[in-house]
Symmetry: C2
């Protein structure tokens, strides 16, 4: 099996692929767009797309890509993000004056860097910063990336778990060309639009509340070309193949201008 992820070898997304799928072949497209295209074109069997970080919030681009492509969500995975301070071999922690990494990783270690008097400099991605650091040979610079990135490039980990907030998780969605019928407790992801009128969202949520279906996520996105009208993304506990969820979706169809089920999939159990 071939699984696409966005980023370089050693990226957190690559770690998530191995944790979730086991020992598979990986395909690393350059962008989220190319990652989805790779599955559509059959160059990959699946993609593992980051959709939400517990600190930074949703990765909206992947929500938009889910909507634009005729693919199905078949699974979810939660990765605990642990940032490492990585340096060239023999470098000591007190030599470090600058850290390079992706802006989000730098932001998540801001207090750590400040308290150690280390300046932050943005680069394209986390694993790439390790590669850059190795090539430069710099001895006063550290990269912030995953343990796997340090190992992959044969670099030294000065400290592990330097993120300011330990509750740092990224949720990934496994996306494929075929839908699956989940056997375990399931989640379903949907996207819909509503008429722009008072109470519209309240009515839409009633189809879940009246059936005691638990929402785990709601997200609104502006509709391209229609300023201040919104797309809604909802995740709820249930499978589109069970009766109650089916009726809730039928009921929602009465109010929605557009409704698409992106997939029902086993709920992640850590």
């Amino acid at each position: 099996m071939k699984v696409a992820f966005q980023g370089e070898p050693g990226a957190y997304s690559e770690q998530a692929v191995f944790n979730y799928f086991g020992d598979v072949e990986t395909v690393p497209p350059e962008s989220f767009d190319a990652m989805f295209d790779s599955v559509v074109a059959g160059k990959s069997d699946m993609a593992l797309a980051p959709i939400e970080n517990s600190l930074a919030g949703s990765i909206h681009q992947n929500y938009d890509l889910l909507l634009r492509h005729d693919l199905h969500i078949v699974g979810e995975y939660l990765l605990r993000v642990r940032h490492c301070l990585i340096a060239n071999l023999g470098v000591k922690k007190e030599d470090i004056t600058k850290a390079i990494s992706h802006p989000q990783a730098l932001g998540q270690c801001a207090a750590y860097l400040r308290s150690h008097g280390i300046k932050a400099e943005q680069v394209y991605d986390t694993a790439g910063s390790v590669n850059m650091l190795k090539e430069s040979g710099a001895r006063d610079v550290a990269a912030i990336a995953s343990k796997r990135a340090a190992e992959l490039y044969g670099m030294q980990i000065l400290e592990e778990g330097i993120e300011d907030n330990a509750e740092n998780y990224t949720r990934f969605l496994a996306v494929g060309r075929e839908s699956t019928v989940p056997k375990e407790e399931a989640k379903t992801s949907i996207v819909f639009t509503l008429k722009n009128q008072p109470g519209a969202l309240f009515k839409a949520l009633s189809v879940f509340a009246l059936r005691d279906l638990d929402l785990t996520k709601i997200e609104s996105r502006p509709l391209q070309g229609k300023p201040w009208e919104y797309l809604f993304y909802i995740d709820f506990i249930g499978s589109m193949y069970d009766d109650v969820s089916k009726r809730a979706l039928d009921h929602l169809g009465e109010y929605a201008v557009m409704l698409r089920v992106l997939g029902s999939y086993p709920r992640f159990r850590g």
Copy 2:
């Protein structure tokens, strides 16, 4: 009056300040954080913070900053974003092989750039890209920024309105130290958290739906340190000083774990 905006002279935010406030003194802090701090410390009387773009979605950082600071929303403004292709004097459009700008501006002109065979390169901000281009003197590079940025740096506009989608608006919020009582039709912005239980959001929305109060925006944000619990931001038509809205907010208080009114302010009329 002194008004803080984030960005360099010539930024779209600066244009919004002059359109909304008229001829005021501007204070340009480097970051959104510094912009809010500037108002808190009394270095500025107001800040004008971009909160949402009709294509790109919400600027989450400013939602978080509204929550972290004890300031009040006192107004809103909608800016139509028109991107210009800007070059050094005497350069012709057919000479351009590369465009530099903020990633969001590049993204909003992606189809235009592709159809003209122009490569995109990311830089820190739109107005800054014009300054960089002027200093470099490059004759095969264009910057993408506002008309005002071109005029400010004495540069040439090769084409105006190169954005792929004309429905490109940015909504700004005027933020000050004192709340105001709006006299015209008002909007109110609130933020709240709920117990993590089925139907919680449905109940919360009922306080508006049962009183025919129209929501214009709903946004969810992860709660820092509590993975998969959410803050909700809602805008509705009404003023916290009118009876119906007051009752709705009291009613919401019965369900909410935390509830804060960020401000009531005149609704923008273009």
